[in-house]
């Protein structure tokens, strides 16, 4: 059974906005700011970010630690609400959506790859990849998940639990999970941060090859210049602001 809770209205709004999506860039950020109240006073984490990302574009985000890169992705995926500005992804204005609508939006539109993998420890590789498909009500969830694991070169490891796999293997599973539902947008937060250089390179190759075959937009946070160079565009975060950076060829 799928989540039957989303009210009909949300569903209709969702379909209408999906149709509107064609004429716009996939992601549109306007004046996005995030201020968090903390014990030490207000912290301005994002200070007015404007950003467009086209469908099937690849974008690298670089910047010093603490500059707000991860926070930007959290806002982009609807996991964090900005205190000002608008975020539009695939035609959805995230600011107007309630929590359930955001969940629906994520399961249909977005895939995420984390630096520390975040596989569900009680589930096998196959089940981990199947979860978003199951959430989306895909009847062939396991078949599709199996195929994406094969594509990620993990065919023989499908029945293994995360604790039985190396970091690189876990990240492959995470990538398979992010791409399995053919989302319009995949974001990855330092996907190679916890891996050695060789393994990291293989992971990045995998992501780019799937991205290319599925025409997915890919947003990638990285400290690694060579990886950033492989993207269509690079932006640089500095003190909560996004600055376009030039690609060196």
């Amino acid at each position: 059974m799928r989540e039957a809770r989303a009210p009909l209205v949300t569903l209709i709004a969702f379909m209408m906005s999906s149709m509107a999506a064609a004429s716009q860039p996939l992601v549109q950020l306007r004046g996005v700011a995030l201020t968090l109240e903390s014990a030490a006073g207000a912290v301005n984490i994002l200070r007015g970010v404007d950003l467009d990302i086209g469908a099937s574009e690849t974008l690298a985000i670089t910047g010093p630690s603490g500059s707000g890169k991860s926070t930007l992705l959290a806002v982009l995926t609807g996991l964090e609400r900005p205190s000002a500005g608008t975020v539009t992804v695939a035609g959805h204005n995230l600011g107007t959506m309630d929590e359930d609508a955001l969940a629906l939006f994520r399961r249909n539109t977005i895939g995420i790859v984390f630096q520390s993998f975040h596989l569900i420890p009680t589930m096998t590789a196959l089940e981990n990849v199947a979860v978003p498909l199951e959430l989306a009500g895909n009847k062939d969830a396991f078949a599709v998940a199996g195929a994406s694991l094969e594509a990620a070169g993990l065919g023989p490891r499908m029945g293994h639990y995360p604790s039985q796999m190396s970091g690189g293997e876990q990240q492959r599973v995470a990538i398979a999970r992010a791409f399995a539902g053919a989302p319009a947008l995949v974001i990855a937060d330092e996907p190679t941060g916890n891996l050695d250089t060789n393994t990291g390179a293989a992971i990045v190759d995998l992501m780019f090859s799937i991205q290319a075959s599925q025409h997915t937009a890919l947003v990638l946070i990285t400290h690694d210049r060579t990886i950033a160079q492989r993207c269509d565009r690079i932006i640089h975060m500095q003190d909560g602001r996004a600055v376009p950076a030039t690609k060196v060829t």
């Binding site: 059974m1 799928r2 989540e3 809770r5 989303a6 991860s70 926070t71 992705l73 959290a74 995926t77 996991l79 964090e80 929590e99 359930d100 969940a103 629906l104 939006f105 994520r106 399961r107 249909n108 977005i110 995420i112 984390f114 630096q115 520390s116 975040h118 596989l119 569900i120 420890p121 009680t122 589930m123 089940e127 979860v131 978003p132 199951e134 959430l135 989306a136 999970r177 937060d189």
Partner: protein, 839 residues
């Protein structure tokens, strides 16, 4: 059909095993099991009482007369209206063996149709008629095992009663109408009616009960029959009852005890509920990252809630079912163990109502405690995943969950009040339990605040121990709350027990009689007095003549015809004992009127108990008509007298002035105050000289009474111990949940150079402080609760029993320390390296 997604994901999560949920399951199983066991046991006893009501009464209906046998008109009515009549005589008497050892027995003479209902079982197996028959000129008798052992007799031996000897032919196994719960002063000795007649014990005025038992026409309604009987003989003065309403006192008692124990079990369940909540909370804390991940993959908060709700529901169901199985099987195990203490021997069967109630209590408790952390879990912010720090949410859940939790708590309270059949007691318990939980929570807050506010402590081990108790996220508060409440239940039960026991034993008047003697014949009076007074150590002997009869009219208005407000008072509807006296005994306090002169020879006059006079609205100068052995005597009330019934001497509500009763058939009763060392000599002297006089030793009576009380208090203590058991489970859960932090701490300590003994000392101090504070607060609250019950519910004098408090609270504290150390023992051996590598 496809399994719903929430269930599928829940099942995947549960594959990991039940670790961390053992306490959860155990706490629910313990509480539900206790309630189910108590409910099943009391239901089985009550239903057995109902099934055996006829046999226990001895007939469809029974009429008991004490002062006289039934007259011809009454006998004619009995014969005409019933299918069969059986007559049984009961009296207390002394039985003696050949060596002269004497003991009090409950003597019963039965006719040849006895028992009308139920089956008598004898060892060796034989019919009752055979056993009681005359053989070689000696009548037979059967007796309970106690008589054989106390008199050192075997089968075939002879025992003397009154003027004759009888041969013991069998041991009584089951006597269907031997109602337990009615105070028996000695073992049963049963003979035939003819044998009883020949003992010479049955004389005019003997304290003999004659019971007529009736088998009615199967179509007849016993209650209707009884009404007809009383309508036909309004003045008979008998005690009459029919089987459908004969046992309610015993049933009510069993029901009450069952209700009380159910509520104690419910308290254990609620205390365990704290552990349930903690287990869910710590399980979900471990699932925070998974929950966040699910959300990042597009799971709604509702789905997250469902996934974990189902897991908790399945585990709760396991705990509840385990509890129900244990509870349902308990009668099977317990009945043989406590068989003697039960009024009946119930067979095994399943009682769905108590099991259903126990399951409902379990489900509601689980809901009340688990819903909150479950609802908090759905609020886990997934954005934390980007920073690898996802922390559990502590904020107030959404309104629907708050309402549901409140609903579960209210339903639990409602079920405690209305599901147990005693709303007041239920309400009391609910208030006390909730109040206790809240109070202990507040105390825990206060204590932890106090510990934090302590100035810097020099001793490192104590400082570390206190730090461990007060660190953020510690379960100290809930452990104190549940252990404390469990312990205070135990303290108050111990105190109540001590109070009850002392009320029976120590609150006897200083000069309480050691003996009561009954059935002293008028011609034995002088010899009796001389015999008793001749024994050294007799301090005081008081003897009074006594007659039996009943009140038939007050101020000329007949009782039977007057259905006024006092119609139901024992003074007018049961048989009374009277005495007569010339002078006022020492210490008598007259509240109205004058005592008669020593040489009184006027018309019949009486002195009346002032409280009876008040209740019956009788004043000095009014007349009361008595029927004594068939003769009506109209007596004027000369004075009112305050009677202290607790003084334990012989006393009567009605004392006649001289002149009215001297010549009527009568017996004397006496009481003797005796030095403890002289009791045996007095007993021997009286029983050797007078075979018909029954000597009741007060010490034995008290022993029998406290024996019954002890059985009940053992049951109460056993169930109450479960409340502490539930508290201990909460402690165990907290230790298990805090294990990781503890391991880490102790490893750090070791790295810094601490020896094992130092780590042990920290743990020891931690649990000692926890146990000490909890024990002190529990002792105080438990005492307060017991005091309130004694003062307000039992209206008694309060006795503070130090050993009871110290024993239960101190025992509880020691238990906390031992269990705490046992739970952390393995941590001591932990090698530092692997732990450090893993973090």
């Amino acid at each position: 059909m496809a399994v719903p997604l929430a269930l599928r994901l829940a099942a995947r999560e549960l594959r990991g095993g039940l670790t961390g949920f053992r306490v959860f399951i155990a706490a629910l199983a313990l509480g539900v099991g206790a309630i189910a066991a108590v409910g099943s046991l009391s239901a089985s006893v009550v239903s057995e009482l109902q099934n055996n009501a006829r046999a226990m009464l001895g007939g469809d209906a029974e009429v008991t007369l004490t002062a006289r046998p039934a007259d011809d008109a009454e006998l004619a009515f009995f014969d005409a209206t019933s299918a069969q009549v059986s007559v049984v005589h009961d009296l207390r008497s002394m039985a003696r063996n050949g060596d002269g050892t004497v003991m009090l027995v409950e003597l019963k003479g039965v006719d040849d149709v006895y028992p009308l209902f139920g089956q008598m079982t004898l060892t060796p197996s034989q019919t009752l008629d055979d056993a009681l028959a005359m053989r070689d000129g000696v009548p037979g008798a059967v007796a309970e095992a106690e008589l054989f052992s106390r008199l050192a007799l075997g089968l075939g031996d002879r025992v003397f009663i009154g003027d004759i000897e009888v041969e013991l032919r069998a041991v009584i196994g089951v006597e269907p109408d031997r109602t337990a719960g009615v105070m028996a002063l000695g073992p049963r000795l049963m003979v035939s009616a003819a044998t009883l007649d020949s003992t010479g014990l049955v004389r005019m005025g003997s304290l003999l009960e004659t019971r007529y038992r009736f088998a009615l026409d199967p179509a007849a309604d016993p209650a209707v029959w009884l009404d007809d009987l009383n309508a036909a003989f309004p003045q008979a003065g008998w005690r009459a009852s029919e089987y459908t309403s004969a046992q309610p006192a015993l049933q009510t008692f069993v029901d009450r005890l069952g209700t009380f124990l159910t509520l104690v079990g419910l308290t254990a369940l609620v205390i365990g509920g704290v552990g349930v909540g903690n287990a869910v909370r710590s399980y979900l804390a471990g699932k925070t990252a998974t929950i966040a991940t699910l959300k990042s993959l597009g799971a709604t908060g509702g789905l997250v809630f469902q996934i974990y709700f189902w897991q908790v529901a399945v585990l709760a169901a396991i705990g509840i079912v385990l509890g129900l199985i244990a509870g349902a099987l308990t009668p099977l195990v317990v009945t043989p163990l406590i068989g003697d203490a039960l009024p009946v021997a119930p067979g095994f069967s399943l009682y769905w109502l108590p099991l259903g109630l126990a399951a409902a209590y379990g489900a509601l408790t689980a809901t009340a405690f688990a819903l909150w952390p479950l609802a908090q879990a759905r609020e886990v912010p997934a954005a934390g995943l980007f920073r690898a720090i996802v922390s559990p949410v502590r904020r107030w859940p959404r309104t629907p969950y708050v309402i549901l939790t409140a609903g579960a708590i209210l339903a639990l309270i409602g079920l405690a009040i209305f599901g147990t059949g005693n709303p007041w007691l239920g309400a009391w318990f609910a208030a006390a339990t909730l109040g206790g939980l809240v109070a202990f929570r507040l105390v825990a807050f206060g204590v932890m605040g106090g510990l934090l506010a302590l100035p810097q402590i020099r001793r490192p081990s104590l400082r570390l121990a206190l730090a461990s108790l007060t660190r953020p996220g510690t379960a100290t508060g809930s452990v104190m709350m549940s252990l404390g409440l469990g312990l205070s239940v135990l303290v108050s039960v111990a105190l109540l027990d001590a109070n009850l026991t002392r009320q029976i034993t120590e609150q006897l008047p200083d000069q309480a009689p050691a003996f009561f003697f009954i059935d002293i014949q008028p011609d034995q009076v002088d010899a009796f007095d001389a015999t008793v007074m001749a024994v050294p150590g007799v301090i005081e002997l008081s003897r009074l003549p006594t007659l039996r009869g009943r009140v038939v009219a007050i101020n000329g208005t007949e009782i039977g015809t007057n259905t006024g407000e006092h119609h139901d008072h024992w003074f007018v509807h049961s048989e009374l004992g009277f005495t007569y006296a010339t002078t006022m005994t020492d210490g008598t306090v007259l509240t109205d009127g004058q005592w008669w002169p020593a040489a009184y020879d006027g018309p019949p006059a009486i002195s009346l108990d002032s409280s009876v006079a008040e209740q019956m609205a009788i004043a000095v100068g009014d007349t009361v008509t008595f029927n004594i052995l068939g003769r009506d005597i109209v007596a004027q009330v000369a004075n009112l007298r305050r009677v202290d019934w607790q003084a334990m001497g012989i006393n009567f509500s009605v004392i006649f002035a001289p002149g009215a009763l001297e010549n009527a058939p009568q017996i004397h009763v006496a009481s003797a105050v005796v030095d403890a060392g002289a009791e045996d000599a007095v007993f021997d002297a009286v029983t050797e000289t007078f075979t018909n006089i029954t000597a009741v030793r007060v010490r034995d009576v008290i022993e029998r009474a406290t024996g019954l009380l002890e059985k009940i208090s053992t049951a109460v203590r056993a169930i109450s111990a479960l409340t502490l058991g539930a508290g201990v489970l909460v402690l165990a859960g907290a230790i298990a949940a805090g294990r990781r932090g503890r391991v880490y701490d102790s490893v750090i300590l070791k790295v810094l150079g601490a020896r094992r003994i130092d780590v042990l000392k920290v743990h020891l101090l931690e649990f000692a402080v926890l146990g000490l504070i909890t024990g002190i607060v529990a002792a105080a609250t438990g005492t307060l609760a017991a005091w309130a019950v004694v003062r307000f519910a039992m209206d008694g004098d309060w006795l503070f029993d130090v050993p009871a408090v110290v024993g239960s609270a101190g025992g509880g504290m020691v238990l906390v320390v031992i269990l705490g150390l046992a739970g952390t023992w393995r941590i001591l051996g932990q090698k530092p390296a692997p732990v450090l590598r893993a973090t």
